[in-house]
């Protein structure tokens, strides 16, 4: 089962929860699906924030820059989202959902930024050339880069969440405000557009 951490992630979910409970007095661990809700208090201080949400900032930034395609705007969005998340930490019911919950706040902040500025940047990076340069593969990868650039931002975000940040369909749905089924359908629909004729098997991810 995916733990929802990207390829650079180094924290297991277990260690993350332990770190969370030691940083936040009064937090009762949820034991998994169906466990009772746990309340979280929101102490002040940069060090407390860093111990609770700090590990998520990088993933938030990766998501923000994917949605906004602007470094400064993404940094602003992450900071705004972090402030909101810290203020609303008491609303979080499951410590295990912290990553998805935080990313959903980042995503909404990015949408707000996008609406406020109404810009989108579409650039395509030339493929890297090196020994054994495969022109066909380069053309195909450039095609994929271009195709990703042309996607609706929400579609591109869904792909990024699932295939780069390794979120399950259910987690993708939570970040995007969709049901698991809707998130999976969206991803499969986009894949079908990227690669017509691609056979897609029903993955057993329940989140």
């Amino acid at each position: 089962m995916s733990l929802g951490l990207g390829p650079e992630g180094c924290n297991t979910e277990h260690a993350f929860k332990n770190g969370l409970s030691s940083a936040v007095p009064g937090l009762r661990q949820s034991g998994g699906a169906g466990a009772s809700n746990s309340q979280m208090t929101a102490p002040a201080g940069a060090d407390r924030f860093d111990s609770v949400l700090g590990p998520l900032v990088r993933r938030g930034y990766l998501l923000a820059v994917t949605m906004l395609e602007n470094r400064e705007a993404a940094e602003d969005a992450v900071q705004e989202a972090s402030i909101k998340a810290w203020r609303k930490l008491g609303d979080l019911r499951e410590a295990g959902a912290l990553d998805t919950w935080y990313l959903s706040i980042v995503a909404n902040q990015c949408r707000s930024t996008r609406r406020g500025r109404w810009w989108s940047v579409r650039t395509v990076e030339a493929p890297e050339h090196g020994d054994g340069f495969d022109e066909d593969r380069a053309v195909a990868s450039m095609d994929l880069d271009r195709a990703l650039s042309r996607l609706d931002p929400e579609d591109r975000t869904a792909l990024f969440l699932h295939y780069y940040l390794d979120l399950t369909f259910e987690q993708v749905g939570r970040v995007l405000g969709l049901s698991m089924t809707a998130a999976r359908s969206r991803i499969y629909r986009v894949l079908a557009r990227l690669r017509p004729g691609l056979e897609l098997s029903e993955e057993g991810e329940g989140g």
Partner: protein, 582 residues
């Protein structure tokens, strides 16, 4: 499938490499969070609060004695789930001023992010600027509405902008405008810090001794208790929301609060004599003249909602909230009213189409008509140009009852076959060379315009010239220019938007070869005659005919669309035969 997954990961890696992360971002974020921790609110002085309440009760009673009886809203506040916008429940009808029955008038071009205020001295809604393309360009025009729209022509105007803040200063009898975004490539502009006033005739730039820093997408309204225009917006330097007041000469800082939000709307609630703000991700704050205070008032909580319109509605003792953008970019068409304690859903049907404000506020209270007036905003298919009024219980579309907007067109006997070519060229025509590569002769009495319509393809209109005394607003010709592989626009937009979306096009016939050897199609356009009065077709004559064709060169594809009262109109033929492509 595994190959594609790997390719996607590599492709995302390439995209992310363009935006390397600052190694200090985590530390800076932690510091920003630490700075944002809310300071304990000052407790209001009990005596001052009691005095304000007494004055409010007396004032409210006096106001009530001059109006219709008000029926309390008794329906329960809708409860919201954690991830959905609750559906407003119907409420008991509130007897307030009736929505006025007003004829249609030609409105400003469709737009969002414009600045709107009610000028109490001149008894007119004032509109300035805004954008129709997400901020890449911006308007700098001034319009007023007194039941009908009128474009103004002041000797001086502020620079074009969107997302500015504008309100009426009742003491000094001028409309005050502050800040906003300049236009910029891809919608990224610069925040402004200028102050302007409108006196009903022209704009005057003010140079106050103190001023907020550059900002946009904030909130503003006149605070009756303070007798000042109050502005609330995020200071980009501190990332805190600052509240400033304008005294007619300068700005003064009243409060700094920890919550920082873009596009937080604000309106004054007369009965409680407080400004009311709806914050993101969802909550009510009230301003007592010194500090903001969080309230538990319900409303569309549980979901992130931004860019909604908010207005006072003094005649009903309410603050009204409409629309906005919810999670997953869904546009909202819900109406909420705040009675000083809680938010309740209302509105009923008809209701304005879903929209968001674009960072500014598209709704104001018309104290003369005693209704809230809503204009434009960003709809599902682009910016809007519709005008609505709300009296506290129901919405009414201005010009919505236009009798000439017939649901079914009159069908005239139609001559089939190829229209006869014009035998004489148009008199007093003027050559026009488009930068997009096409040229033609513009007949006398017509002019060339390139309205700002975000349809994706640049387009140009040949329209009747108002300066030539023509009152018909229907274009003679619309030309789109696309790339060599582009398809015809699947959505036709005119300025102002005048095509009815509830009725399909009616294709009549095709003929060819037309000009340049292409095939042309003749069809009928379902024009909303309430928006374009005096159009080529009237209720008894049927709708205008369209003659459309596509012409391609090596570099471009051109889509031509003529509108006329008959497919054989000589003017159409004359212009069509003058077309040349480079």
């Amino acid at each position: 499938m595994a190959d594609l997954e790997g390719e996607l990961r590599v492709s995302f890696e390439r995209r992310l490499r363009r935006f390397p992360e600052d190694p200090d971002l985590r530390k800076r974020t932690a510091a920003a969070v630490a700075r944002s921790v809310r300071q304990p609110a000052w407790l209001p002085v009990a005596a001052a609060v009691a005095a304000v309440l007494v004055v409010a009760v007396v004032a409210f009673a006096l106001i009530q004695s001059r109006r219709h009886a008000v029926t309390p809203i008794t329906s329960p506040t809708p409860t919201a789930g954690p991830s959905s916008v609750p559906s407003p429940s119907p409420t008991a009808s509130l007897s307030v001023a009736p929505n006025p029955s007003l004829p249609a008038s030609v409105p400003p071009a469709a737009r969002a992010g414009f600045q709107l205020a009610y000028d109490g001295a001149r008894k007119a809604v004032v509109l300035f600027g805004g954008t129709a393309d997400g901020g890449t360009t911006a308007f700098s025009d001034t319009w007023t509405w007194d039941g009908a729209w009128h474009e103004q022509h002041p000797a001086q105007s502020p620079p074009a902008r969107r997302g500015g803040m504008m309100a009426y200063d009742a003491v000094h009898r001028v409309v005050v405008l502050f800040g906003g975004w300049t236009p910029g490539p891809q919608g990224i502009g610069q925040a402004l810090a200028d102050t302007w006033t409108w006196d009903g005739v022209t704009w005057t730039e003010r140079h106050p001794a103190a001023s907020p820093g550059a900002r946009a997408d904030g909130a503003i309204d006149y605070d009756d208790a303070l007798q000042k225009v109050v502005l609330s917006g995020v200071d980009p330097a501190s990332n805190r929301t600052e509240t400033w007041a304008w005294d007619g000469r300068t700005w003064a800082l009243l409060d700094q609060t920890s919550w920082s939000e873009f596009s937080v709307p604000m309106a004054y609630h007369v009965p409680t004599r407080q400004l009311v703000a709806w914050t993101i991700p969802g909550g009510t704050e009230t301003f007592d003249g010194e500090r903001w205070h969080a309230q538990s008032a319900g409303g569309p909580t549980g979901t992130l909602t931004t860019n909604m319109d908010l207005s006072r509605l003094d005649a009903a003792g309410m603050v009204v909230m409409f629309g906005g953008a919810g999670s997953s970019n869904t546009l909202l068409d819900t109406t909420w009213v705040y009675d000083g304690t809680t938010w309740r859903g209302t509105g009923g049907s008809p209701s304005p189409p879903a929209r968001h404000s674009g960072g500014a506020n598209g709704m104001v209270y018309d104290a003369d008509l005693k209704v809230v007036v809503l204009f434009g905003g960003e709809g599902a298919n682009g910016p809007l140009a519709d005008t609505w009024t709300f009296n506290g219980a129901a919405w009414s579309k201005v010009g919505g009852n236009c009798p000439s907007s017939a649901p079914v067109p009159v069908r005239l006997p139609l001559p089939h076959g190829r229209p006869s070519p014009a035998t004489t060229p148009a008199q007093d025509a003027t050559a026009y060379h488009s930068p997009d590569g096409w040229s033609l002769m513009v007949p006398a009495g017509y002019e060339v315009q390139s309205p700002q319509i975000p349809s994706g393809l640049p387009h140009t209109e040949i329209v009747p010239s108002a300066q030539a005394g023509k009152t018909d607003r229907l274009p003679l010709l619309v030309v789109w220019t696309g790339g060599s592989a582009d398809s015809a626009p699947n959505q036709v937009q005119l300025a102002p938007p005048a095509l009815r979306t509830d009725i399909d096009w009616q294709n009549e016939y095709s003929f060819g070869p037309a000009v340049g050897g292409v095939t042309a199609t003749v069809s009928r356009a379902p024009i909303d005659l309430c928006v374009l009065p005096g159009a080529a077709a009237g209720p008894a004559a049927g709708w205008p005919f369209l003659l459309t064709f596509t012409a391609r060169t090596a570099a471009h594809t051109y889509f031509f669309m003529f509108l006329s009262d008959t497919p054989e109109a000589a003017l159409v033929q004359q212009v069509m035969q003058s077309i040349s492509l480079r």
